[in-house]
């Protein structure tokens, strides 16, 4: 009896151990990436194409390449409704999933990013807030776990001023010009203000800051002020319905649309819908192409939609925000690939992916291999520079599609970088962080 019990116990132990080992072995070839999405709520029209872009790119890597160096990408969506509290809950829910926990997190909200910054270092999960979030996180000496390449809000604002200078025939001609910054009254919307104020002093243009409260459906008071001030240019940091109403109001007061420029969160396909023909000529910043004419899109149609391009377009393929999600997913995947070069082709931990992000070098040749040559610009991250000061492109709506309307405009790094370092140093002091030596 005793022997039988012992035998059964031993057998049970073997089954348990091997079972665990087997399941461990199955999971060791998977890389988990959490997806914080907002497919419902007031910002869903923006959130859906972004989420689809991420999903399709991860699926493409799995189907076309068999994962990242043979390691399958596993992802799980969590609905945030673009709500900071729900976003943090999603992060907490997903951070320990998968064999090595979350590889990295893309919060897709400046508010959520701010909340996750202190958590990322503790949990060992790097944040990739691509073109949003806290601008001074670009200083990698202080913000070891946060990356915001290819450019920040501040760099974008400086590129906008440079673009306006070029349009006006030289930076000297900015003197006396009137520029309005119409912004979402939130942490995100206010990000560009310090840069614009600094540049207004430097170049002598008159800056007026006009805030719009969430969600931005009613902007009559703001546009009455704009009509009265008669600005030469308007720069907008909006999101969701605020963009759509602003473009419609601008058309309503007959403002010259080619002098109305949104930031890269104010230039999606949905933004120009309500104004119809009135939105023709509207511009916005971007750091990647619009449309579905690149090699990567061909691959997505072929490998995910079985050659059915119409079905891919139903899923928003080629829309500005779909492409944004896709390029964001690509940077994440390339960071994991970079980490694998050092640590081997297995599931990477958050710390290893952080190293991959910090040593990421997506050059022209690599973009070409990925079917993204000309679609976006190369990125080379370093220990001290998590932004890379990537150039900014300005696109224009012609009534039916977005097209590039400028050359790539480099930001004013000489102006922006000292501001970033100053803000990062203040953050380090407040939070008792000793900056790394890079």
């Amino acid at each position: 009896m005793k022997f039988r019990s012992l035998l059964l116990g031993a057998l049970g132990a073997v089954v348990c151990v091997t079972g665990v080992a087997v399941s461990k072995a199955a999971y060791s070839a998977e890389q988990f990436i959490p997806m914080l999405v907002y497919r419902t709520g007031p910002y869903a029209p923006s959130g859906i194409p972004v989420a689809n872009g991420f999903r399709d790119y991860y699926t493409l890597v799995n189907k076309r390449d068999g994962g990242i160096n043979g390691v399958k990408i596993v992802f799980e969506e969590c609905e945030t409704k673009y709500n900071t509290k729900q976003g943090v809950e999603c992060y907490e829910k997903l951070k320990n999933k998968g064999p090595t926990g979350a590889s990295l997190v893309n919060p897709y909200s400046t508010g959520i990013t701010y909340q996750l910054i202190p958590k990322s270092a503790v949990d060992g999960v790097p944040i990739l807030s691509m073109g949003y979030g806290r601008t001074s996180a670009a200083d990698g000496r202080v913000f070891k776990w946060v990356f915001n390449f290819p450019a920040t809000y501040w760099s974008q604002a400086s590129a906008f001023v440079k673009y306006v200078g070029r349009q006006e025939g030289g930076m000297a001609n900015l003197k006396g010009k009137k520029i309005v910054h119409l912004y979402h009254n939130s942490a995100y919307g206010k990000e560009a203000n310090p840069t614009l104020e600094t540049l207004a002093k430097k170049y002598g243009f008159k800056l007026t800051l006009i805030a719009v409260d969430h969600p931005g459906q009613e902007q009559k008071a703001q546009w009455l002020q704009i009509r009265r001030k008669k600005p030469h240019w308007i720069f907008m940091s909006g999101w969701g319905v605020m963009n759509q109403v602003a473009i419609k109001e601008a058309a309503g007061i007959n403002y010259p649309m080619d002098h109305f420029v949104g930031n890269w969160w104010s230039g999606s396909d949905a933004d120009v819908v309500p104004a119809g023909a009135g939105s023709k000529g509207y511009k916005s910043a971007t750091f990647h192409g619009a449309g579905a004419g690149w090699g990567v899109h061909e691959d997505i149609v072929k490998h995910i939609y079985g050659g059915d391009a119409a079905k891919a377009q139903e899923n928003k393929m080629g829309e500005v925000l779909y492409n944004r999600g896709m390029v964001n997913a690509m940077f994440g995947v390339e960071a994991i690939r970079t980490a694998m070069k050092k640590y081997g082709n297995k599931s990477m931990t958050g710390a290893q992916v952080r190293w991959g992000l910090e040593n990421l070098n997506v050059n022209e040749a690599r973009l070409s291999e990925l079917g993204m040559k000309g679609f976006t610009q190369p990125v080379k991250v370093s220990c001290s520079d998590h932004e890379t000061s990537g150039p900014v492109m300005f696109q224009q709506w012609d009534g039916s599609k977005w097209s590039f309307a400028s050359i790539w405009v480099p930001p004013m790094r000489d102006v922006v970088r000292p501001m970033i370092e100053k803000d990062a140093a203040n953050y380090a002091k407040e939070n008792k962080i000793t900056p790394r030596k890079c």
Binding site: R39, T40, G41, P42, A44, P45, I48, N185, L209, I210, A211, V212, D213, P215, Q217, E218, K220, A221, Q222, L224, Q225, R227, R228, G240, V241, Q244, V245, K248, G252, I253, N254, A270, V273, P274, G276
Partner: protein
């Protein structure tokens, strides 16, 4: 000192200096006010007739607008789309009475309020499942051109919305005041059981009032949807109606329109002349401040009924 000047002197000098611009701000406020009133009307109708604060009014606006634009996207002409959408809103009213309100006759107001919270989630979800979450352009053929009149910029769409709003408010005020159904609606609002005891068909009255609120939601959805596109954020316009209701009173149709106009003008004037002093975007909270200031003097709102209860 500089701050005091910016608050108490500079705005008034500015108004005196540019009276035409001030007139433009006031007219803009009046037009926005009519749009707020359209949303507030839906709340008032249901509260007046059933004592329920309908949390789902914003969702009804979205649902009606989504239905209309969805039908038009499938090739229905505007007149057919409007008819079918009205039919859908009547069917919705019937379903609400049959499956929600009938079970809750004579329950506390808070119970009915919570039921409307549930209804809100159902309508939001069903609307998005059926018609998607994309921003949809709604063009109902109303002219949308800007023109200057004595230096004031006006918009034909805003003028049309004002006219439609005024017609709706007048019709509803007359309906409530002078028709037997209107009087029955008011009786139901006062006391469900007493109304039943004198032979007022409670179920029919509820279906009627929710149908009318559905029709008002459709008009509000068309006006707001044409401005900002038909999308989920239409639900949030209910927030714009709350200060209007506080100010105008929850039970008064004319109160909804007068409250809307006061809030519309007040918030626009405040935003344009005092907004820069406080960092901008003050109109949302200013509307509530204004409503609260009125409440200090008239707790039932400008036109609300004074509630006297035996304790």
């Amino acid at each position: 000192m500089e701050f005091l000047n910016a608050v108490f002197v500079a705005p008034f000098l500015d108004i005196a200096d540019s009276p035409v611009f001030f007139a433009e701000v006031v007219i803009g406020g009046l037009m926005s006010g009519v749009m707020y009133s359209l949303v507030a009307l839906g709340f008032v109708l249901i509260f007046k007739a059933s004592g329920v604060f309908n949390y789902a009014q914003g969702a009804m606006v979205l649902f009606a607008a989504l239905t209309l634009v969805g039908l038009m996207e499938h090739g229905a002409p505007l007149w057919l789309g409007l008819l079918v959408t009205l039919g859908v809103m009547v069917a919705l009213a019937y379903a609400i009475e049959r499956f929600m309100l009938r079970k809750l006759v004579n329950q506390e107001g808070i119970i009915l309020f919570m039921a409307t919270i549930g209804l809100n989630f159902v309508l939001e979800g069903v609307g998005q499942i059926a018609f998607g979450s994309d921003v949809k352009r709604l063009d109902v053929g109303l002219p949308d051109k800007s023109f200057e009149w004595k230096g004031i910029l006006l918009n034909t769409f805003d003028l049309s919305a004002t006219f439609i709003g005024a017609v709706m408010v007048t019709s509803l005020a007359l309906f409530f005041q002078y028709t037997p159904t209107g009087r029955a609606l008011r009786a139901v609002a006062d006391d469900h059981q007493a109304a039943l005891s004198v032979g007022i068909p409670l179920k029919t009255i509820w279906v009627i009032v929710w149908s009318v609120a559905g029709a008002v939601a459709l008009v509000a959805g068309i006006m707001w949807g044409a401005k900002a596109g038909v999308q989920f954020s239409l639900v949030l316009i209910a927030l714009k109606a709350l200060p209007v209701l506080i100010l105008g009173g929850f039970t008064s149709v004319p109160g909804a329109i007068v409250g809307g106009l006061i809030i519309g003008v007040g918030e626009k004037v405040a935003e344009v002349y005092w907004g820069p002093v406080f960092g901008g975007a003050i109109e949302s909270w200013f509307a509530y401040m204004l409503a609260l200031a009125f409440l200090l003097f008239r707790p039932q709102g400008l036109f609300g009924e004074k509630i006297i209860e035996r304790v």
